[in-house]
């Protein structure tokens, strides 16, 4: 397993070109092309703003302003997370031709999925920056240096989950459908469109068990709230747990590797 993991390093050139192919191919033939990477999260944000400002104005807490920006801090990384999971559930089956006909390390496929979505996440960041400037939110450097670390933790967590999901979906195609429903639930069980402070005390414990809570809260603390980054302890715990999850995911994937060529 460790050997395979090291082998993976040799394939970085392949991963790199596959990620760029993925990005190029995705918007090939569309008029707006790459702009969809900006437009998609923007539209999502517009919808949520409409819901919380116009349809249900009473629900949102008055203390969190501007609310659109608050939501955007969570929606952007969530989109990366959820699209990666959804796409990786089908990625081995879609790449069946490669796995069956070419000697090819299958884990490259879910990894490429996660990385391609990460690039989309990065492409969405300028919009976030635009909002931050527009609302003239003060950003502090000693908070901002934690941002790459949060991204890294999310990357490892997402990779681990995607490896598990992609490998198991080969054996159980049901996972794809379960996953899309689960992710809808997961989204609402994460403090993205409501602040953590709104949760009742029993609900808070429940939210704490959700790994994405700590990512969302970290993003919000760094980008939205003032003053010192107070979520570090949780983030470090999550980082350690993510590494363990990644190793478990890779182990599972490695064990199931030989079955892919026959099952996809």
């Amino acid at each position: 397993m460790i050997h395979n993991l090291l082998q993976l390093f040799r394939y970085r050139g392949l991963i790199q070109s596959l990620v760029s192919r993925e990005l190029k191919a995705r918007y090939r033939g569309s008029v707006l092309g790459f702009f969809w990477s900006f437009i998609n999260p923007l539209l999502l944000l517009l919808i949520y703003s409409f819901v919380f400002n116009t349809v249900l104005p009473g629900i949102r807490p008055a203390s969190v302003e501007p609310f659109a920006l608050f939501m955007f801090c969570g929606i952007l990384p969530w989109t990366w997370f959820s699209s990666s999971l959804i796409e990786s559930s089908g990625v081995l089956i879609a790449g069946g031709n490669l796995i069956k006909k070419v000697l090819f390390p299958a884990e490259v496929l879910p990894i490429v999925t996660v990385l391609a979505n990460m690039v989309h996440f990065f492409l969405g960041l300028p919009i976030l920056v635009g909002f931050l400037i527009y609302y003239s939110i003060p950003l502090q450097l000693n908070e901002l240096i934690w941002f790459p670390f949060v991204v890294l933790v999310q990357l490892i967590l997402t990779l681990g989950l995607c490896l598990i999901v992609s490998a198991l979906t080969v054996h159980f195609r049901d996972i794809k459908d379960i996953l899309s429903n689960l992710l809808t639930f997961w989204f609402f069980a994460t403090p993205i469109i409501y602040p953590m402070s709104m949760a009742p005390s029993g609900g808070k414990r429940f939210l704490d068990m959700n790994p994405f809570t700590h990512l969302a809260v970290s993003y919000q603390e760094i980008l939205f709230y003032d003053g010192p980054f107070g979520h570090l302890k949780w983030l470090l715990t999550l980082g350690a747990a993510s590494i363990v999850l990644f190793m478990v995911g890779y182990f599972l994937f490695d064990r199931l590797r030989d079955s892919f060529a026959e099952e996809v």
Binding site: A25, I99, K100, V102, H171, R255, D258, A261, E262
Partner: protein
């Protein structure tokens, strides 16, 4: 030093149909194999205890019928699947031409696909870029290399895939029946490339249905059948053994078919009493049987040189059409006829006793009529026979339309229907090297 060393390799697949994901997932997780928890009825053995060694620099052809395990063997050697038991060792870089252009992305250009495909097959990006011009030129796609691959014809697609795979510069090249894709020119180019590989001492494992290619091109041949190695060795010998086995099987198949058609016609056709339809029926191609059965054809067998029933003949063989007849009551007006048709329904030959000016006198009871052909001078193909007894005016007693099938085999791919006995004679200044090996 062996380039490929397969040692008692067995490959068992799981049968589909009954889904038992939990069982397969559990065994995959625990033992790395899919089938440990499955009953024998749920599995399928694609290769059974196959051992094969290919020395470095050798070209080995793998032949055998569909489903004999050829592609599985290639996949094991390529490392795409693992053997259920036994080991497979390969020394050197492998390039597997199993499916051309596997992994091409339809939306992006040929150029980008070449680069990604090259990297997938084990080249570094710099190596691909170095060989890029050569690859595109080999594929003959200079004009279209910037177009997305989805606009390519299947031939262009395969050519590009082949061009990339062949430029990976492998030590061991695995080829799975892919020469069929290109046009003549491209096929020659591929063969030249293979020959170049051979000269450079590379090892080639070639799966193909083209037996002449194996004979011409390979140092050794392997004949696989139902997952077992039936023969290994000199290509000529192995191909001959394979061909005679195929013939035997065809013989059995044709016999079974004959019995089936005969059964069908026996149960379906009512004895026909009017003679009118017969002239029209002569030209209908559908097989069948009709007639009043005053004289009945009980059985028809094709008899070969050795006096035994046969369905496969070679050009120039002797053949007898043995017709077993029975007349319940004495009949005085009768004509025996035989017609020979090829697969397109073209009448190759037809004759009857009336045309040959034999005047009938009487049949009474059972007997055997032989229609003997001294030399069956036909080209390779499937032929069908009409056998009939009728009155001189055409009124049918028993008409068997296209009920008997035989196959002509030939190692010459000459064309047409009829092969006249022939020889070539040349003046001394026209010279040949001699027959192909």
């Amino acid at each position: 030093m062996h380039a490929i060393d397969i040692d008692h390799a067995t490959k068992i697949y799981r049968r589909y149909g009954r889904r038992r994901q939990f069982a397969t997932l559990k065994s995959a997780l625990l033992s790395g194999s899919l089938i440990t928890d499955l009953k024998p009825a749920e599995t399928f053995t694609a290769l059974q205890d196959v051992s094969l060694r290919v020395a470095t620099g050798e070209t080995v052809g793998v032949i055998g019928p569909n489903g004999s395990g050829k592609s599985t063997l290639l996949k094991l050697v390529a490392g795409i699947t693992k053997p259920t038991s036994g080991t497979v060792n390969v020394n050197g870089r492998i390039s597997a031409l199993i499916e051309l252009g596997a992994g091409f992305h339809p939306e992006i250009s040929g150029r980008e696909n070449v680069i990604i495909n090259g990297i997938m097959l084990g080249l570094s990006k710099r190596e691909v870029l170095q060989k890029f011009e050569e690859i595109v030129e080999f594929a003959g796609l200079e004009e279209f290399i910037e177009a997305p691959v989805k606009t390519y014809s299947s031939g262009m697609y395969a050519r590009l895939g082949f061009a990339v795979a062949i430029h990976v510069n492998p030590d061991v090249l695995l080829v799975d029946e892919i020469l069929a894709v290109g046009d003549q020119g491209f096929t020659h180019k591929c063969l030249d490339k293979f020959a170049e590989f051979r000269r450079r001492g590379k090892t080639i494992l070639l799966v193909t249905h083209s037996l002449s290619l194996v004979e011409r091109f390979c140092d050794d041949a392997v004949w696989l059948d139902s997952g077992l190695i039936k023969a290994v060795g000199d290509p000529k010998r192995v191909v001959d053994a394979y061909l005679s086995h195929v013939e035997k099987q065809e013989e059995q198949q044709l016999e079974a078919d004959d019995i089936k058609t005969r059964k069908m016609t026996e149960t379906s056709s009512e004895p026909l009493t009017t003679g009118e339809a017969s002239m029209d029926d002569m030209f209908q191609v559908a097989e069948g049987r009709w007639g009043s059965r005053e004289v009945e054809i009980l059985d028809v067998t094709l008899v070969g040189d050795d006096g035994k029933s046969a369905h496969v003949f070679h050009s120039g063989d002797r053949m007898s059409v043995r017709v077993h007849i029975n007349a319940e009551k004495p009949v005085s007006d009768f004509v025996f006829g035989v017609g020979l048709f090829n697969a397109d329904g073209v009448c190759c030959y037809g004759t009857n006793t009336d045309l040959e000016q034999l005047v009938s006198k009487e049949i009474d009871g059972e007997g055997t009529v032989d229609f003997m052909i001294d030399s069956l001078d036909l080209v390779a193909g499937t032929y069908k026979l009409d056998v009939a007894v009728h009155k001189r005016d055409g009124y049918p007693y028993d008409y068997h339309r296209l009920l008997y099938t035989f196959r002509m085999k030939s190692r010459t791919n000459d064309v047409g229907i009829y092969r006249p006995r022939h020889k070539w004679k040349f003046p001394s200044n026209v010279r040949f090297i001699g027959p192909l090996k």
